[in-house]
């Protein structure tokens, strides 16, 4: 069995930083990522032929980090999927099971830092499953990685800075953005409380200005308190219905407008990738701003499972800078726990990180509060709107299950099969709890969360069978 001292899952900002720090402290590290190159979503490496305008400070930071990683002794496994984490009682180590062209099938270690980041959060509305309706993240991948324009006439709808970035990229790539719709009403009123947090975040504001510059130049309307309500089309999206929202996010019918489009890009923020924490059954807590359960962590970002750490966006949306500081701290703790250094040695370093950490946490909290989703958004779905896209389960089927007396999202899953498909509820899991909370008049946190069982990604029987095993009669 292949063994190492530390396994890091995810090579985004948090994972890379954790790998560099741990390696500098003489810890033997294996860094695993599903993508062909390091960087994650934030430091996405763009193939040169598509390289469009990129903010230079961001680029500089990325290449510095990549250089450090390349010059370290970190063992890096690209294009490798982790499909399970098991406890092996024989070795008393964590066994990480892998799928990929050139990776071992299993690696064991006492420590795992999970840095799996986040993915686009979706809101169900009629037509959200039509081809041509895509998330902001998917739009950016299409433009940046594949050089494909998602559409020529596009509506961008959602909340927060990510959709602004997507709109800006779309404009640069030559799309006509009909409008950018921000669903949060009180953006500026909410934001004012957080002015002190913005202090020291000038570079970020600059980034924000770059995005808006493109909108202003092309006179793209930016409507606050609006959202896409519905998408229509034969086989692909042809028309979007947009509407104004009331103070809690419910659409106001008389405001509806129809717009001809060939793509709808939705960016309702991010959902942390908590699959591995639910797989390992670690203690979780409900976070209102993300609308899901997140792993509980100690001051070094260790979960209650011995040796399992959670850093970066997968443990709560906080952005790349916060993620990197968290990665550093977790890596230092692993080095201390495995006897490579001591806490007293690391005290000065930890204190320095702590200060940066506090600032980043404040900024993350601000973004979370400003761009948290109003409840009314979950009223867009109609009875025949598909909620679970893997198993094709509609809202009316989910409401019927609730009428049987379902009390948790798992109950709904078991009755309807919603969340039982390939993605194990990645998209519909948090939506189910919003629907149940509304129907049963309880808090979303009382609805619990969906279990995850291995494999985290579908895996061929032949990749895990062992032909040499003896069958007894």
């Amino acid at each position: 069995m292949k063994q190492t001292e530390l396994i890091i899952i995810g090579a985004g900002p948090a994972g890379i930083q954790a790998a560099i720090t741990a390696s500098e402290l003489e810890v033997e590290v294996t860094l695993i990522d599903s993508q062909p190159s390091v960087g994650g979503q934030y430091f996405k490496q763009v193939p040169e032929e598509f390289n469009i305008h990129d903010s230079s400070s961001h680029q500089k930071q990325a290449s510095e980090l990549f250089n450090k990683l390349n010059n370290s002794r970190v063992k890096y496994l690209p294009e490798t999927l982790v499909w399970g984490i098991f406890h092996n009682p024989k070795t008393d180590l964590w066994q990480v099971t892998l799928q990929g062209e050139s990776c071992p099938s299993r690696i064991e270690s006492a420590f795992i830092i999970i840095a799996t980041g986040a993915y686009d959060r979706s809101i169900p509305f009629p037509g959200w499953d039509l081809p041509g309706v895509i998330t902001a993240g998917a739009a950016q991948i299409m433009i940046k990685n594949q050089g494909i324009l998602p559409g020529k006439q596009v509506i961008v709808s959602g909340t927060g800075p990510l959709q602004l970035a997507a709109a800006s990229n779309l404009i640069e790539a030559g799309a006509k953005v009909q409008a950018v719709l921000e669903c949060n009403q009180k953006l500026f009123i909410r934001g004012i409380h957080h002015l002190p947090s913005i202090w020291g975040q000038w570079r970020r504001l600059q980034e924000g200005f770059q995005y808006t510059e493109n909108l202003i130049k092309t006179k793209t309307p930016y409507r606050i308190g609006w959202s896409v309500i519905k998408a229509d089309g034969f086989e692909k999206v042809e028309e979007a219905t947009i509407g104004k929202l009331d103070s809690v996010g419910n659409p106001i019918q008389k405001s509806y407008q129809k717009i001809a489009v060939d793509a709808v890009v939705v960016g309702y923020g991010l959902t942390p990738s908590t699959e591995f924490f639910r797989l390992l059954d670690v203690d979780m807590r409900y976070s209102k701003s993300e609308g899901i359960f997140l792993p509980k962590r100690n001051e070094f970002f260790q979960t209650n499972a011995q040796g399992i750490y959670a850093v970066g966006d997968c443990a709560g949306i906080g952005g790349a800078k916060l993620a990197m500081q968290e990665g550093k701290i977790a890596a230092i703790d692993v080095a201390v726990q495995s006897g490579k250094t001591s806490l007293t040695n690391m005290e000065t370093t930890l204190n320095q990180i702590e200060r940066k950490l506090n600032r980043e946490q404040k900024f993350a909290k601000m973004l979370g509060e400003i761009f948290s989703l109003p409840d009314g958004l979950f009223s867009f779905a109609q009875p025949d709107t598909i909620i679970c896209r893997c198993e094709q389960i509609s809202l009316s089927e989910i409401k019927e299950a609730i009428s049987f007396g379902a009390q948790s999202v798992t109950d709904i899953k078991n009755i309807t099969r919603s969340g039982m498909g390939n993605c194990q509820g990645r998209t519909c899991g948090s939506i189910l709890s919003q629907i149940l909370a509304k129907e049963a008049r309880c808090n979303p946190e009382d609805c619990q969360y969906l279990n995850i069982r291995p494999p985290v990604h579908p895996i061929l029987v032949e990749t895990i069978e062992e032909e040499t095993t003896e069958v007894l009669s």
Partner: protein, 406 residues
């Protein structure tokens, strides 16, 4: 949840048996609370394949009970007013040697006489029924043509949906920490969310029964073992019509040779087209829900021996749950001696098939204090306390000729 904390009956355990009891008791007009430590079906009931099996019945005392219960499935969907995914389906157990067939001979002589078809099939007949079975080394199969399968979740929720309308208080995420006593009488349970009182407390707690019994000085000799399984994506390259199991197995050490996991193939295709695959069993008192690191491999390995075509199927989920076993193969069913107010309905071999009758029996016991339907005296819980405290071990074929219970 707006309920008071006093009921006619408290049922502990929202598995398939507890849900059925809740349905039958509320139908009879009782005020019932169904108390569950996690969510509905979070123990063995949510982990099983939904087999409505009569061919693996304990043959000394359980046949009348199983037959009565089995017949209820013909009308259950109508009675519950919804689909529970019920279908009649054959069960085929692949044999690789004559000695494996000899082990089933008792069963084959008794079951057909009581109306449960059970016979030996030569390899060529197996090939007709399931053409994709690997014929290499096949001695034949035992064939039980008249078995059944339900969706276990829909069965539980079919009971609950009706119980809900009949006024059931379903109290999930209420873990029972202790019993409430008045002298020797059980008068309720103390849960993580408060005390609940009732005239009768029914334990439908399967693998958790022993732990609860120890709180009140009852050491019911119920053994736990964990059973694991997995499911594939919908896979259209193969269609199978029966529940196909194997007498052959794989042994794999988890902690060491003393703690082997024993894997047989158990395969069935859902009506949606997914394959439910294999069964890995391992003894142990651990009640958590984590599958061992060897089970996905052994389940994949044994399945492709019999169905090579399944190499190309994608596994989407594996799972495990603690299930139970008694030395005589019979449940603990009936009032608990010397502890008035407490009734057991635990450790059924095949809980799905027993669930309707368990509901009827418990309702009679609550209603009139005794059971007219059938003689339940062989199932008296106290019998298990008189037995030696044996430990269930995987019976290794390396040391003795044996096989897994079907």
């Amino acid at each position: 949840m707006k309920t008071t904390n006093t009921f006619d009956v408290i049922i502990v355990g929202a598995g398939v048996v507890g849900c059925s009891i809740a349905y039958h008791l509320t139908k009879a007009g009782f005020k019932v609370a169904l108390v569950e430590q996690k969510h509905v079906g979070s123990g063995a009931s949510g982990a099983n394949f939904g087999m409505v099996q009569s061919n693996d019945v304990e043959i000394k005392h359980s046949i009348p009970m199983v037959l009565k219960s089995y017949k209820r499935f013909d009308n259950l969907e109508k009675e519950l007013g919804m689909s529970i995914g019920f279908r009649r389906i054959a069960s085929l157990r692949l044999l690789s040697s004559e000695s494996q067939w000899m082990n089933s001979k008792d069963r084959a002589s008794i079951l057909p006489k009581v109306g449960i078809p059970y016979e030996y099939l030569p390899p060529e007949r197996v090939a007709e029924i399931e053409p994709e079975v690997n014929p290499n080394g096949l001695f034949g199969a035992t064939y039980a043509s008249f078995q059944g399968q339900v969706n276990p979740f829909l069965l539980m929720w079919g009971f609950l949906k009706n119980a809900h309308r009949q006024g059931l208080s379903l109290l999930t995420y209420h873990e029972v920490n202790n019993f409430l006593m008045e002298g020797s009488r059980v008068v309720g349970v103390d849960t993580t969310k408060g005390k609940l009182y009732a005239d009768k407390v029914v334990l439908a707690t399967a693998a958790w029964t022993r732990k609860l019994g120890l709180l009140i000085g009852q050491n019911w000799n119920i053994h736990t073992f964990r059973a694991s399984a997995m499911v594939t994506e919908r896979f259209s390259d193969l269609q199978i019509h029966s529940i196909v199991t194997s007498a052959d197995h794989i042994e794999a050490a988890v902690n060491g040779p003393e703690d082997a996991e024993l894997t047989v193939m158990a395969l069935s295709q859902t009506q949606e087209g997914n394959f439910l695959i294999a069964q890995a069993d391992r003894p142990g008192e651990v009640l958590d829900g984590k599958i061992s690191h060897v089970a996905p491999r052994t389940m994949s390995t044994i399945t492709t021996r019999f169905f090579p075509i399944l190499r190309k199927a994608k596994i989407i989920r594996t799972w495990t749950a603690p299930t139970t076993y008694t030395d005589d193969g019979m449940p603990l069913l009936g009032p608990v001696k010397d502890l008035p107010g407490l009734i057991l309905a635990a450790s059924f071999r095949s809980a799905v098939v027993h669930s309707p009758i368990a509901g009827e029996i418990i309702t009679e016991l609550v209603n009139q204090g005794y059971c007219d339907l059938l003689d339940i005296s062989p199932f008296a819980p106290e019998r298990t306390m008189m037995e030696a405290d044996t430990v269930y071990k995987v019976k290794s074929t390396k040391t003795e000729s044996n096989e897994m219970p079907e």
